[in-house]
Each structure stands twice: as C-alpha cells, then as structure tokens.
C-alpha cells in the first residue's frame, strides 16, 4: 500500500487566510454540513473560525498545500468550559485521504493538553452519514437527536445530532 504521508498539522497563521477563506466559503456555501449562513461574509467567518476559537490549526501537505483546517474552543462559558467544541473542514482535493480523521485525533490530543475533559459537536447534520460514521469510529457517541434542527440547502429541514466524547474519565 502506498499511503500518502501524514499531513503536518500546525497552528494557523494569518498568511494562511488567503487560501483558507475560499475553502471555508465554498464549504459553508454548500449549506449541507455547517450552520454558518451560506452567504456569510469574510469578516464573519474570520471571526468565527480564527478570532473566537481558542486555537485554529491547518493541515498541510508535503508541498505546503492546504489540506484542511480545524478550530477548538470551549463549548460553553464558565461551568461548562471544560467541554470543548471543534469544527473541521477538509479541502475537496484532499477528501478520502484520512485528513478529517487525522485532524480529529490531533484535536483530541490538543484538547487534553489544553485541559478539556470532553468534546462535543452540537449540530452534526444527520444526513452527513460519512461524518457521523467517522466521529463514531473516533469514539464519539450520538448523545441526542434534534428534530429538524438543520435547514439543509437542498433537503430542507433535517435532524441534527449532538455527538459527545469523554476525553478524561
């Protein structure tokens, strides 16, 4: 088997933004995985993906090409801030190469390092079966189902899933 090399996952730098923004824009414009409004502005998404989180990272290929990105942040303030929330986006050209899996494993290790005790995804689109299966494979359970909580761009109202993993028992 000729596996591609594992991606380098490193902290985001502002010089990444000119490549990151088109990837995020296209992902959210599709309206099938994330809640961010499909027509969100560049500054709104910069705030959400880069400024608001505790950390933002990128996955880079051997030639420095952008393969993906993720953020990590507390899911709630204060007494809920020991549970983190992450979001992941993989570049279309890098799909199927284990980038999401590598980023999620990386984020779990980083979460523990940062002192988080659990990780929660608040609105996994139920029709995004590939993502649901991947998160389950990586140790998350479906903690809850939210009927019609996601306004899918082509399918209309579909269920959202709350997925959760305890990192520090």
């Amino acid at each position: 088997m000729n596996l591609p090399p594992a991606p380098l996952i490193r902290p985001f730098e502002e010089t990444d933004w000119p490549r990151l923004w088109p990837l995020l824009r296209a992902t959210f414009a599709a309206g099938d995985t994330y809640a961010y409004a499909p027509a969100s502005s560049e500054s709104e998404i910069h705030r959400a993906w880069v400024e608001a989180p505790r950390a933002t990272l990128v996955a880079a290929g051997p030639a420095g090409e952008l393969l993906g990105t993720y953020f990590i942040k507390p899911n709630q303030p204060g007494l809920g801030s020991h549970v983190c929330n992450c979001g992941y986006v993989v570049a279309p050209a890098a799909q199927g190469r284990g980038i999401a899996s590598a980023m999620c494993r990386h984020s779990q290790a980083l979460a523990i390092e940062l002192g988080y005790r659990a990780m929660q995804f608040n609105l996994v689109v139920a029709t995004n079966e590939r993502a649901v299966r991947l998160w389950q494979h990586l140790g998350f359970t479906v903690a809850g189902r939210l009927p019609g909580a996601y306004a899918h761009a082509s399918l209309g109202y579909v269920d959202g899933l709350v997925m959760y993993k305890t990192l520090v028992p």
Copy 2:
C-alpha cells in the same frame, strides 16, 4: 384557592438593569443552574443577557416588583437559526408561584411570533430536577445527555441535558 395574579411579562428596559443585575449575579454565583462563570462581571452578564439575545423580557408583579426574566436568541447561526434558545431566572422571593412556567409559555408564543420553529436548551443541569420536570411538563423532551458536562459548584461534574421542543411541526 387564592392564586396570585399572573405576572406581567414585558420587554426589558435599561432602567430594569439595577434590579436585574443583582438577581442574575446571585443566580450565577450559586453555580448550580447556569454555565456563566460564578464570578462573571456585570458587563459580561449584561452582554450575555441583554445585548447578545434577540429579546430580553422581565416578569413584573402588581407593584412593579421584579419576579423574573428571560431572553430569547437563535441557538445557532444561519442554517440552525430557526431553533431558538432561552434562559429563565426567577427571583428567590417569587419561587413556587408559577413564574418560570408563565415565562416559558410566554417565550414559546413569542418564539413562534418571531419565526422560530423549535426551542432548545443546551445544558440543563441534570441535578436540577425541578427544572427538568417543569420543562417536560411544558412539552420539552430530553433529546440527549452529556456526561459530566457541568461543573456544579458543590456536586462537582454532573450531567447536562439537551432539551428540545418542536414548536412548528
């Protein structure tokens, strides 16, 4: 039966804040119902309870006394913004008079008027059994359980519940 009169539920005005802030401060300082850090500053709570939400309301008694307050806001951006989130606080002196119930019913009607299709509570503290029962009585179901998601001030890590109600089928 000599029931107290139903509270007047009206929009918050800034002149309410000097009475509202001590109530919110004491509620969050207890560290047993809300995630807001117990030592949150006045400006942080003003932002969270008054500025960030779509609307903030107060429940007033016959003499104008503050009985409670609630806010309503979208629970997610964009494609999740048809689901609202509310938070309710009842003044200690007004406990047991149906104020929370009145505010929750009011908020459900307001939610529909504002175009929301469902209401979600993200972190109902599982040990707050009175609240859980009340929300169930008012039509919410426990959509999910989040192990150890709340750092209770006296009990340590306790479960959080995600509660959900479809308002517009």
